[in-house]
């Protein structure tokens, strides 16, 4: 290859690389990392991006240069140079990519091992997913169960995750970590939050009609704030179970079936917004034109019978019709809270 050709080729390549680099660096591609794992993922991401820009620039340079330089004139019916191959070149472009991808694999394997390393001192949270709600419980705090994931800053967390029905997948984009929840097995995920804030919890595995609505929040708090949040939750739970509505068994049914994953209900301390706010049940029953207790019972066993304005049918599972009568009665009692 003549020297002039090489210079022009390199110039086109550098220009392509500059454009690709500008796209890579001036667009904020990655979410601001909020966990130590996300930092390592970002490192691998930029490592691969560097290699990709180089290869992309090389390919673009050769194509653009060829398109301009080797374009046949309209009246030119001749053939190109009869070059059949070049063993040296062919060995080079077999060996060189092999080295690059080996580097990618090594860097990835190291980052993966570090990301799954769980320190001895860590917090365990049990995650339960079902169509279409999340619930998080803390074995360390007497099984405290909530619908939004609360985590203390800078403490490693191990999520032990189970699914009740189909496959779901837990993802917080800012944490970078993701793991499917598979019915019948318990999967694990390690996260070490490093930035305060509230982040979305997203289900990323298609899980049925309400998949797009299966959302919750992950809230990273200062350790002291986390401790007082735990205390407040424990107090609220104790109060609810002794409350005038006779929360006891009804509250247990409410929590163990994941109702708090989708519904706001003050007596249970839940704040989720996927489904209607259960504090407004009396008003809803009036709109539906039914007695309160019959309305509540019907809405549990046959959720599509009445759909509150602004909500969609078929999102609430119809599986609750198989609840034992005793539990169903307790749940209805708890929800109507002594009102008639």
């Amino acid at each position: 290859m003549r020297r002039g050709v090489l210079v022009r080729l390199v110039a086109v390549g550098l220009a392509a690389a500059a454009v690709a680099s500008a796209v890579a660096f001036f667009v904020p591609w990655l979410p601001t990392p909020a966990s130590k794992q996300a930092d390592r993922i970002d490192f691998v991401f930029w490592f691969v991006t560097g290699i990709s820009i180089a290869i992309f620039a090389l390919v673009v340079a050769v194509i653009l240069y060829s398109v301009v330089r080797f374009r046949a004139r309209p009246d030119d019916d001749s053939d190109g140079a009869p070059i059949h191959g070049n063993t040296g070149l062919e060995i080079a472009w077999t060996a060189f990519p092999a080295v690059l991808v080996t580097a990618v694999a090594v860097v990835s394997a190291v980052a993966l091992a570090q990301n799954e390393n769980l320190p001895k001192k860590h917090l365990q949270v049990n995650v339960l997913a079902q169509q279409f709600a999340w619930s998080f419980s803390y074995p360390k705090y007497k099984g405290l169960t909530v619908s939004a994931l609360h985590l203390p800053l800078n403490e490693a967390v191990e999520l032990k995750m189970r699914s009740k029905d189909v496959i779901h997948s837990f993802w917080v984009p800012q944490f970078g970590q993701k793991q499917d929840l598979v019915p019948g097995i318990t999967t694990k995920l390690v996260i070490t939050p490093k930035r305060l804030g509230t982040y979305p919890v997203v289900c990323t595995e298609l899980c049925g009609e309400g998949h797009a609505l299966m959302r919750s929040e992950a809230i990273v708090m200062k350790p002291t704030a986390f401790a007082s949040w735990v205390k407040a939750q424990e107090r609220a739970a104790a109060k609810a179970s002794q409350g005038p509505s006779g929360g006891g068994p009804g509250l247990a049914v409410f929590n163990s079936n994941g109702c708090s994953g989708c519904h706001t209900f003050k007596p249970a301390g839940s704040t989720a917004t996927t489904g209607p706010d259960l504090d407004n049940l009396p008003a809803d029953a009036r709109r539906a034109g039914k007695p309160l207790s019959a309305f509540v019972r019907e809405s549990i066993v046959d959720p599509n019978a009445y759909i509150e304005k602004g909500y969609q049918p078929n999102i609430m599972p119809s599986t609750f019709k198989s609840l034992p009568k005793q539990q169903l009665d307790a749940l209805v009692q708890f929800l109507i809270g002594g009102k008639k």
Partner: protein
């Protein structure tokens, strides 16, 4: 378009006269289809009811079971009616077989495209036209999806309908467009390229084609059942025990499409191995033939796995077996392992023929031999072998055995090596060529550049830590569209434009072709490139609704996708009008060396009036005096060539 020749008319001399009156109901064709379909419907219904009654299963009339049985019985009735089994049935029941009079060969009017036809060229056209129909149908489904996604919240369709839209979109694009479109192009050109008069098994070839409309109609009709809303991946247990009957329409659609592609692949293998013209050694095969050879190996080895996986989910659904039912100790992840053991090789089934087309087009329009021909062929074989060792990279977050991830990452990134060899060889083929930028070349170059982006995003997805972050997000949506749209579809377009003169005998409109390319190229990048960003930032795939902060970009993507959809109209207009009224095509408009261009456009019914003698490689551009093949008139006798 007619392909009549006098030589063929002579062969017709002994054909039996067509039947008259009520006997026409017995002759294979559309008159026999309705009553045979009804007959098989009755047989299916009778057997089901009889078995349920005899076994004492209640209710005897079970809609789910009956529908499932009829999804097998009625298509068989249709195929029997149209004449797919006539010859073999006669043989099997001991009737005298009818001597082959070639009356089912060739097309003399448009009607000949709507019946069982054993001419590989007619079947090729049937394939391509049918698959383009399903391409348009699946594309329209995507347009509805993008309309819904243009704004956050729900506007046009419900959640379940949205899930059905993307499921059927993908199922049609994969099983009824990309895979069979390549099979169709191959069907047309492979026998021509190797100097054969037809495929090895013409009747099997005809049957393979007629399975396709069956599969496509099953998948489309799943909307009316309702309920195929569990994605084209059909993961258990969502698709096995948490779906309506529509999922069974998908399960059975895959069986019909899969059977079709296995039979075609078998046909390709036997044709390529046994029917090459004298002198056509493996090292003289055009690279498209190499590509279809490796693809066919992939199909016959891998497709039975998806057939098995779909039968198992269907049995879980209908017969209450427990293959993937965790409550009865079924193996939920087992589905994914079996499914991806097919569906990763399926990516190469959808890609390797495109590599072949790109090689043909780039070599012809660069007027240069393919750079490193042998390494190009060997890298296809390397991809074939490696392709079976990477399936679990679709499962890095699935909860499978953790140790499996690093080995699968290593094999996945190693596939970049043979793929890189192909890309670099195409680039080197351009170097010092005489590039002609006709539409096929534009699509081939568009393919190389877009496929590089798809390949590079594949490296991100192979690297486990990055995959954990972007798995099941719009990043994956972007990646598969760069590979399957920028890769497969661009090469399908390149192939259709390249062989359009050969298939129809007419030239397409070059200006409209170029317009189509640029509209598609721009629309494609505007639609799919921003999806990388959405995915990394946190938008999961397969959702009908999304966080408000993604609204602006989604709106932009929707507009771009409508632009992309509209570009297809240019293509359809060009194809239809040029087929009807285009300028007559010369035998070899591209001055290519491969054999299909050495016969008239369209070719004679039996392809070659005289058998070609292959004397050299297929891409000897610029080599003085070099020839790929000679015909009787000017044969050069080379002793070592004749006895191959």
């Amino acid at each position: 378009m007619t392909t009549a020749t006098t030589a063929h008319d002579e062969l017709h001399a002994g054909a039996a006269p067509p039947p008259h009156g009520w006997r026409r109901l017995l002759a294979p064709g559309w008159l026999r289809v309705p009553w045979m379909s009804a007959l098989f419907f009755g047989i299916g219904l009778g057997i089901t009811l009889l078995v349920r009654w005899a076994e004492g299963w209640h209710p005897i009339w079970d809609g789910q079971v009956i529908t499932t049985i009829e999804l097998v019985a009625v298509p068989f009735g249709f195929l029997a009616g149209i004449g797919g089994f006539d010859y073999w049935t006669r043989y099997a029941i001991g009737s005298p077989t009818q001597p082959e009079d070639h009356s089912g060969h060739g097309a003399y009017s448009w009607r000949d495209y709507f019946r069982i036809n054993t001419d590989h060229k007619v079947i090729g056209v049937q394939y391509v036209v049918t698959t383009i129909f399903f391409f348009v149908a699946a594309g329209l489904l995507a347009m509805i999806m993008r309309a819904e996604l243009a704004r956050p919240g729900m506007q046009f369709v419900g959640n379940q309908v949205f899930n059905e839209l993307f499921s059927v979109h993908a199922a049609l694009m994969i099983f009824l467009f990309i895979i069979p479109a390549f099979a169709g192009l191959g069907n047309y050109v492979i026998p021509l390229m190797i100097g054969a008069p037809d495929m090895a098994f013409p009747r099997l070839n005809a049957l393979s084609f007629w399975l396709l409309p069956v599969a496509g109609l099953l998948m489309l009709s799943s909307f009316f059942v309702p309920g195929f809303g569990c994605g084209w991946t059909g993961y258990a247990p969502l698709c096995s025990t948490h779906q309506e009957l529509g999922a069974v329409f998908f399960n059975m659609g895959v069986q019909w499409a899969g059977a079709s592609s296995i039979m075609t692949a078998l046909n390709f293998l036997v044709t390529i191995i046994t029917m090459r013209a004298p002198g056509m050694t493996f090292w003289r095969l055009p690279l498209l033939v190499w590509a279809n050879f490796t693809t066919s190996l992939l199909v016959v080895i891998a497709t039975p796995f998806i057939a098995g996986s779909q039968f198992m989910t269907m049995f879980d659904h209908i017969m209450h077996t427990n293959f993937f039912n965790y409550e009865a100790h079924g193996y939920v992840l087992g589905y994914q392992h079996i499914f991806w053991f097919y569906s990763h090789p399926a990516v190469y089934i959808m890609m390797l023929p495109g590599f072949g087309i790109a090689s043909e087009v780039i070599s012809t329009f660069a007027r240069k031999p393919i750079f490193g021909y042998r390494l190009m062929a060997l890298s296809l074989m390397a991809i074939l072998v490696l392709g079976f060792s990477v399936w679990a990279h679709h499962m890095f977050v699935s909860g499978m055995a953790p140790w499996l991830r690093v080995p699968m990452m290593v094999t996945s990134v190693v596939i970049a090596v043979p793929t890189g060899i192909k890309v670099f060889s195409w680039l080197a083929t351009l170097w010092e060529g005489k590039l002609n930028f006709s539409t096929p070349m534009l699509f081939a170059l568009g393919f190389v550049s877009m496929f590089v982006i798809g390949g590079l995003s594949g490296i991100y997805l192979a690297a486990v830590p990055i995959d954990i972050h972007v798995s099941d997000t719009y990043f994956v949506v972007a990646h598969i569209h760069y590979v399957l749209f920028g890769g497969s579809l661009f090469t399908i377009f390149a192939g259709i434009y390249y062989w359009f003169p050969k298939m129809t005998g007419r030239m397409y409109d070059e200006r409209l072709g170029k317009l189509h390319f640029w509209l598609t190229f721009i629309g494609f990048n505007a639609t799919f490139f921003p999806m990388h960003y959405l995915g990394i930032q946190g938008m999961p795939r397969r959702v009908s609704d999304y966080a408000p902060r993604f609204a602006d970009l989604n709106f932009f993507i929707s507009i771009a996708s409508f632009f992309l959809g509209a570009s297809t109209l240019v293509f359809l207009y060009n194809m239809i009008v040029s087929w009807a009224r285009g300028a007559p095509a010369p035998a070899n408009p591209w001055r290519a060396h491969t054999l299909e261009w050495q016969v008239s456009s369209p070719p004679p019914v039996f392809n070659f009036d005289e058998i070609p003698q292959v004397v050299g490689g297929p891409y000897e551009y610029g080599v003085p005096g070099a020839r790929h093949a000679v015909f009787n008139g000017d044969r050069v006798i080379e002793e070592e060539e004749v006895n191959v």
